[in-house]
């Protein structure tokens, strides 16, 4: 992990040790997660055109419906912000999400076992493995608010999906060596890391702004 990512995450962890996630931060996080789940759902929707016997079908079918379920779950659990600027910035981040992940290119032709499909699996894996909020929260913090409970459920489900995804990433023969596969996976990780860092920077800036406002109000 690049040192910038490490420092962004350390800073977020330090702030979240003492401050809870308010509506502005919840909104940013929820819209980002919905953006990610939206990309996965949009790509995976075409899985229903694949034959039932196609080896990855059962797994991707399961993931498709889980993504929709979890996206709506976080939507229900979020305390939405009333600040329009939050939505503007979140939309800008989501545009970057679609652009930098090149999500549109995975939506076109039907799935087949080729480099493009493998690339998508690598991207989806990076989404699930890298975008984790629980490690940033104090271990003793109860996950008993609707928002935190939903985050926990999403990460638990992501953990399950990752296990099957790893099997596909390991076993799919797309004519690449393991080293080339690792490089491809690393490149997708780097993109997702950058986007997640941006979200965390915006969330921490928003918390700091909140702290400043609270201090001024006192």
């Amino acid at each position: 992990m690049p040192s910038t990512s490490i420092s962004v995450r350390k800073k977020a962890k330090a702030l979240l040790a003492d401050h809870s996630l308010g509506p502005d931060q919840q909104t940013r996080i929820a819209l980002f997660i919905q953006g990610v789940k939206g990309i996965n759902a949009a790509v995976l929707a075409k899985i229903e055109f694949q034959p039932f016997e196609w080896a990855p079908y059962r797994f991707l079918h399961n993931q498709y419906f889980k993504e929709v379920e979890l996206s709506t779950l976080i939507g229900r659990a979020t305390e939405w912000s009333t600040n329009p600027m939050v939505y503007m910035e979140a939309t800008s981040l989501n545009l970057a999400l679609w652009e930098k992940t090149e999500a549109a290119k995975y939506m076109q032709a039907p799935f087949q076992v080729d480099a493009l499909f493998y690339e998508y699996l690598a991207l989806s894996h990076a989404f699930m493995a890298d975008i984790r909020f629980l490690p940033l929260l104090p271990a003793h913090l109860p996950l008993d608010t609707p928002f935190l409970a939903a985050l926990a459920e999403i990460e638990e489900e992501n953990g399950r999906q990752i296990q099957s995804q790893i099997r596909l990433l390991k076993d799919l023969d797309i004519g690449l060596s393991d080293r080339d596969k690792e490089q491809l996976i690393d490149s997708k990780w780097a993109v997702v890391e950058g986007l997640y860092d941006r979200l965390l920077s915006e969330v921490t800036a928003s918390i700091e702004q909140q702290i400043q406002q609270d201090q001024e109000a006192e």
Binding site: R160, I162, Q163, I166, E182
Partner: protein, 354 residues
């Protein structure tokens, strides 16, 4: 955070204690990381040892290649780490998964090891261990990491510890859930998927070996440790009372004392690798810290070994292999009874104090 690069992968390590002291390398179990050894960072240096811990590739703060690693790479990367740090003949302890790495390391790099402490581990899988491994794997893959930890916790800790640490358990699980890359654990488990017995290689291990097994280890039970004892010529088996698979977390003072005594015996040429079985005292300050096992070490029901028992006299034991680093010692360790005679191969060798 010190890191060493092995074949393009970062290996995170920590080294404590005075340079020049004998080095004990601690190898993690499957879902461990260096911080699990934190008590040893103080305890072992106080006992005159230097302690090296590291996260295997796929664990903790080390690199986690998404596509995983061959199992053999773990012993090779450990050897590379020792070379990198200029450690020539370390004492290498490994628990559970790490214990298998240690066995492999010892027969692959016989010139680069002073002694080994395979702990809560195995050289071959029996059907119970296979079943546990399957449950853990399926729990991880199908239900989730939290359930995997739920399955592990009662195997790892004693009832007493669980009762006394009820509130800690939730935090342990949270830290475990959030500090691991889930695919890293899966990859480590899968690296053992095609594991074949290495028992046939154990006689290649010539260095002193103190095998440690908890009394109530239901995950890697006694007979798996006994197999190692019987096949490693220069070994002893130490039984740790009233604890379970992860006893190194539960009784670090006792474990440190046993490690330090072992290293001291080897360094002072007092080690006797006679394949005998010993029981540790619960009190780590006790002298001696261990006494010979007189019952059948393979039983939970404490029947005496080799029935019918002879009424009196010395009844056993196996060949005594004296092996300190600098040659054979003429007498046993000050706190250990001497051995004599030859027991039957492949049978537990016990000692009588009469």
């Amino acid at each position: 955070m010190p890191k060493f690069n092995y074949k393009g992968h970062d290996v995170h390590y920590e080294l404590y204690g005075e340079p020049g002291s004998p080095v004990v390398t601690l190898c993690n179990g499957l879902s461990m990381r260096t911080s699990h050894w934190a008590p040893y960072f103080e305890l072992l240096p106080k006992l005159g040892l230097r302690v090296l811990t590291y996260d295997m590739i796929g664990q903790g703060a080390s690199s986690k290649p998404i596509l995983g690693l061959d199992f053999d790479d773990h012993a090779a990367s450990l050897n590379a780490l020792h070379e990198h740090l200029g450690i020539e003949r370390p004492y290498v302890m490994g628990i559970s998964f790490g214990g298998v790495v240690v066995l492999k390391y010892a027969y692959t790099y016989p010139d680069r090891v002073g002694g080994i402490l395979p702990t809560s581990t195995f050289s071959e899988m029996d059907e119970q261990l296979r079943a546990h491994a399957y449950n853990l794997y399926m729990g991880l893959v199908r239900v989730g990491f939290e359930f995997y930890l739920d399955l592990l916790i009662p195997l790892n800790f004693s009832d007493k510890w669980l009762r006394e640490n009820k509130e800690l358990i939730g935090i342990i699980k949270r830290v475990g859930m959030t500090s691991f890359e889930l695919y890293g654990i899966q990859n480590l488990m899968e690296s053992l998927a095609n594991f074949e017995s290495i028992t046939g290689n154990l006689d290649r291990i010539q260095c002193p070996a103190l095998i440690m097994n908890a009394e109530y280890d239901a995950l890697t039970p006694r007979h798996l440790h006994d197999t190692m004892r019987r096949h490693i010529p220069n070994s002893r088996l130490m039984l740790i009372p009233h604890v379970c698979h992860a006893f190194t977390l539960e009784v670090p003072e006792l474990t440190s004392r046993l490690i330090a005594d072992f290293v001291r015996q080897v360094e002072e040429n007092r080690w006797q690798g006679d394949q005998s079985v010993w029981i540790a005292n619960e009190d780590p300050q006790k002298e001696p810290v261990a006494f010979p096992c007189e019952g059948d070490p393979l039983r939970f029901i404490p029947l005496p070994a080799g029935e019918p028992k002879r009424p009196a006299g010395r009844k056993t034991t196996g060949k005594t292999q004296q092996t300190g680093r600098k040659g054979a010692a003429k007498s046993g360790p000050a706190r250990s009874p001497k051995t004599s005679g030859h027991g039957k191969p492949n049978q537990p060798k016990t000692r009588s104090r009469s």
